[in-house]
Symmetry: C2
Subunit: 215 residues, 2 copies
Amino acid sequence: MARTTGSDGGKTEAAVREAAVSLIARLGYEAMSMRQLAAEVGVQAAALYRYFPTKEDLLFTLMREHMEGLLKAWETARPTGADPVTRLAAYVENHIAFHIERRHATHVSNMELRSLSHERLTQVLKMRTAYEKELRAILRDGAETDAFEIDDTGLTAMALIQMMTGVIVWFRPGERLSIAEVTASYLSMTMRLVGATISHGTARPSGRAGDAVAL
Amino acid sequence: MARTTGSDGGKTEAAVREAAVSLIARLGYEAMSMRQLAAEVGVQAAALYRYFPTKEDLLFTLMREHMEGLLKAWETARPTGADPVTRLAAYVENHIAFHIERRHATHVSNMELRSLSHERLTQVLKMRTAYEKELRAILRDGAETDAFEIDDTGLTAMALIQMMTGVIVWFRPGERLSIAEVTASYLSMTMRLVGATISHGTARPSGRAGDAVAL
DNA sequence: GAATTAATTGAACGTTCGTTTTATTAATGC
DNA sequence: GCATTAATAAAACGAACGTTCAATTAATTC
């Protein structure tokens, strides 16, 4: 056999991407073979090389597009000229929504970085850093205007991102909690963590929780 | 050649474990070959099979002992009969100290779970769940005695663990922050996140940060 | 409807993998 | 110092890997 009836390059490529994301998320990049991937798509292994020149090219494409999507999503969701609390809330909501929606792709982007060449790793990390920088800027603004009370901006940003991204590890759609409930809880935890001053009305008291137990 | 002068089974096995942890952490379990590992130890690949019957046995041994170590460390550090704030502080301090000290092993235990057989995966997850259960118990006690203000105990526990374990992703010893500084910051963030009542002296006010921005 | 292009198959390539087997030498026990 | 046991090397096994190549057929173009 050769070309099959109804075959379409565009559709096949999309099917390859989709199957690759879920297969890599489940088995890991190294453990997934090109033959396995091809079988999932319903095609011979050789056919994959029409769309991606190497296995690593495939991985890199998935990661790059994931990061581009994340940055684009934030560009769209980001409120312009708002106060730090509003901006932080938008960041948290966007982050959680995006990551829950793309659990598998996030898994791939976070876990398989070591399989990239140095150059490509740098590219992906650059995008990631740009995204994290947005959060640090919000935290810094909030700290400077006393909207937040933060020890260390960089450390707090990393802690928040790890906490939020961690959702994909345990969250399963359709279980005990809805996406809205999870998002609301994380938003509330985030605001407490950064010591956010209550924004609407009530003034915030001076005594900070945690002070008494700090080393 | 055969047996080499000065060779010692105990030392070789220890060297294999050590090399395996750092090699798997750096390359990933699937990407590390037994020949690579043997070369790192300064031995032929066949010699490894004297100590570990298969590659997966080696991985499982590393993971099981890591988890056993974590549980044992907590058993030792756990304060008995103390209030929730003290117990939570001890949990955070133990968790961060243990994970910073064993960054590579933690990486292995968290990232390579999918390479275990179903049965062994279950064993490791059982230990992990037992460890997480300790945190949930502390949070529940704190919530019931109004020492903490928590939306959802399970969700908060997961968020905290993800946040704390995330330290190993970005923390490098000898850089900007010391272990003590990092621990103090995480402790402070944790206490705010759970809405801990200030324990020594000052009463805690009613208005909670985050309320105003919750969905 | 012939020529061209797009999509895929099937077979093969050289390499590397985890693992096993057999032989060989160092340390140990008596 | 001889017998035994411990620790390793060296070579080989079949299987699986990523990738390439030539052949073949479906769709498209004119």
